[in-house]
């Protein structure tokens, strides 16, 4: 036990490495300004509401998954996008899920997988029933295979 508590283990050794590899070196940064990202997230939220009002779930999902915010300094935009997305998932009938997922582009399917895992990682699962996220996860995996889960795990562009 004592070995684990020795103070030297808490030293940030990367500080002494001239050529340290940082997280942001591992992916291309979002070219958009954080305030612009936030603005876009709000606009999408509104667009999604109107799509949902028309009962067009596929369109709503497409809107919210396009240009999803990632990287540092856009936490608010990420939260808005997640809650918008969870609204869509929650309001979709179980029988429609497969058709909706199939209508998405492969990129959007991979992004959806990231959000499903993000939703499941939240305390209280983002206030929606666990069976909703698990149901979407099951249907999505049937279409994309486990490859999509692998991509959600490896991608550093965390949503």
């Amino acid at each position: 036990m004592s070995v684990l508590n020795i103070p030297f283990r808490k030293i940030d050794i990367d500080k002494y490495d001239e050529d340290v590899l940082n997280d942001e070196d591992l992916y291309d940064a979002d070219p958009r300004d954080p305030s612009q990202v936030l603005e876009e997230a709000r606009q999408r939220q509104a667009a999604v509401r109107s799509s949902l009002a028309k009962n067009n779930t596929a369109e709503a999902l497409e809107i919210v998954l396009e240009n999803a915010p990632y990287g540092p300094n856009v936490d608010e935009a990420k939260e808005i996008t997640l809650s918008t997305l969870l609204t869509i998932l929650n309001s979709t009938k179980a029988t429609e899920i497969t058709a909706v997922i199939k209508s998405l582009s492969p990129d959007a399917q991979d992004t959806l997988m990231k959000y499903i895992y993000k939703g499941m990682a939240m305390p209280g699962w983002g206030d929606i029933s666990g069976s909703v996220l698990l149901g979407w996860h099951e249907k999505l995996t049937e279409i994309t295979g486990v490859g999509s889960i692998v991509r959600a795990m490896t991608d550093r562009r965390v949503v």
Partner: protein
Amino acid sequence: MPPEIFTLAQTPITAHAFNADRQELAVSLNSNEVQLYSRKGQEWIPTETLSEHDKLITSIDWAPNSNRIVTASQDRNAYVWTETPDPETGKLIWKPTLVLLRINRAATHVRWSPLENKFAVASGARTIAVCSFDEESNWWVAKHLKKPIRSTVLSVDWHPNNVLLAAGSADMKARVFSGYIKEVDERPAPSVWGSKLPFNTICGEYSSPAGGWVHTVGFSPSGDVLAFASHDSSITIVYPGGPTVYTVRLPTLPLVTLSWTSEESIVAAGHDCRPLVYAGSEQGWQEVGTLDDASSSKASEGSRSGFGSSGGVGRLKAGAFATFRDADSRGQNTGSVSSDTKLNTIHQNTITSIRPYDIEGGYVARVSTSGVDGTLVIWDTNEVSALTARMGGVRI
């Protein structure tokens, strides 16, 4: 012809390489020694053991014309082995020559250049050591490709012009470098990768599509196209002109090794334990099937009823589902059924290396694979069978 299957060991095979006439084989059985085998009919008979490395041997390459073996190891060394007569007995023995790699982390991958006068060693030191022979001092010296590599280099592959080198790295990038060494190389002809090529020129840099380590890279036979597979379950093909980049997403677990079989086809394999075939051209690429025709192996069809239709799910879900279903509805503990752990692929674990075996006029008619299951398989690249119908129930 059906695949030839050789179970060499119960331990993983970390690397394998054949000699020119394919009658001899060098493997690393997850240890610090190279085991040599000789082919006798349908069997591989162990012959010699090459011991010089202190730690795990990560990669082996056997130069077909000069008949030299190069080995790379986690002990940060590489050795070039030459078959020479023993001064006392006159018997041929393999003699190691140390290579001055000057790296401070493990060597991960090694490949001879096409002319066999150089080899490249990838390493964990964010470096590729391009080694050539120094006649004066009678040893192999290294020049380092360093910039702009930010992490461990996992694989290298030579361009047919003996100068350009592709490298896949854990910083999520595949790159094409110039490995031009003035003392040994003639000035290369201009190609799609560029015309002026001093050492360490970056001729191309490509990111993996969803942030996965680039496990494997390969130039097409002409050298004009680059393919790489990454840990985000995807394979990417690059035509450097535009550049035009095609990414094929896999429904399955990631690929870790690939081999071009012609200018329009690639065989790749990895954690899904079966070699997949990709075909395409500058107009696009797609998966066309697998070399592992699972229906010919000992698979029992009945136990995966109801899963065939969902295509592309991969083995994880079906296997786990069957376990829980049996435990729940039938009170069966499938853990006690021995067939449950048997995959219906030929390789029973991850395939870590795939190499051209039989080349006929620029076209690879057969490839060899080895993997964590200690098995070596030689496949006919024409025996491609469709994949979709079987994806749902890979595990029985």
